[in-house]
Symmetry: C2
Subunit: 198 residues, 2 copies
């Protein structure tokens, strides 16, 4: 298990219903929990006001007991569609990171972002766009290093429906490979849009 740099790390997975947002969050949370070093809370919130076309699932990781499990300052936002990118981008903290599925998101509000065509990779590498969530999870695991890929893989194999393990694993590994092409050090230090800078 990678050690957390900060005391608390907050991730939001977002997209439309049917993109497997909750499954990705549950697999990540259980893998981290299984590694036994940190506290994890995984939450879905829904309301009558549910913001159009967006579904979200959060994972909060902490060295200490988590009393407040909702996102306070978002460290990483994964946006699997344009609506969720638009809706949740303002919740990122200044030094947070935006990760988008470039197959479905083309208006990206910050240069401090990683664009990977998760859906396209899922189709090409694993044969089904259904597993775009696992491609994205691979990227998130590589970029955040909140858990080792190995530890995550064993949770993934146990949690996905029987018969789909290999497809999901392939998708996950494709996501890691895609994310390895990026260097976080090359990104601007904050998500503040350029027009708001002096």
């Amino acid at each position: 298990m990678t050690k957390l740099k900060a005391d608390r790390y907050e991730i939001r997975f977002s997209g439309s219903g049917g993109q497997g947002i909750i499954t990705a969050a549950v697999v990540l949370a259980e893998a981290i929990a299984g590694s036994g070093k940190n506290h994890v809370c995984q939450t879905q919130s829904y309301g009558p006001e549910a913001r159009g076309g967006t579904s979200k699932a959060e994972v909060v990781i902490s060295k200490d007991l988590i009393d407040y499990p909702k996102v306070i300052e978002l460290d990483l936002l994964l946006a699997m569609n344009q609506a969720s990118c638009d809706t949740y981008f303002p919740d990122l903290k200044p030094e947070g990171l935006l990760v988008v599925d470039s197959t479905l998101v083309d208006q990206i509000p910050t240069d401090r972002s990683i664009s990977i065509p998760f859906t396209q990779i899922a189709v090409k590498q694993a044969g089904k766009k259904l597993v775009a969530n696992m491609v994205a999870l691979g990227a998130v695991v590589h970029l955040t290093r909140v858990i080792s890929p190995k530890a995550l893989e064993s949770t993934l194999m146990a949690k996905v429906p029987k018969g789909t393990e290999q497809m999901n694993l392939k998708a996950f590994r494709s996501g890691i490979r895609a994310a390895k092409k990026f260097d976080l050090e090359q990104l601007p230090p904050t998500v503040t849009p350029e027009e708001e800078e002096v």
Copy 2:
């Protein structure tokens, strides 16, 4: 959608890993969210101190925006094994309700409880103990009336793995039928164990 009597209603599903605790909670939360009347938060918390043999998932339903999504005063505890019954029973509020899988729980700490052999029913009625979670969900839906069975069924059909819909549906309906045999009015008004009463 049934109207909530109180402003907030808190349910915890608990058992051992592999009993489908999280799936049951996610299906319930999404069904309630889909009905569009109330706010719902669904949370899993894990920690290095993870209490032996227990897994839990919570659903908080509220008329108002949910700022604090963890359980404050538990209205209903579903315990699918003895360890989770022992561990979480103290979190029930006095007028709360304990629901246990009597296949696996035989030491029941209160008479304000409903005992149903969820695992045994799952095997007999649906052919697999794997769907004991949906039998239990049927009972919870009937006992709490937080959502109509019809509304829940359509979410269930969409969320369970393809090919398992009918088995899960059968299990869910068996749980409703089993719970219908109980009359909550016949239970003592509080969970306080008899020996603590004067």
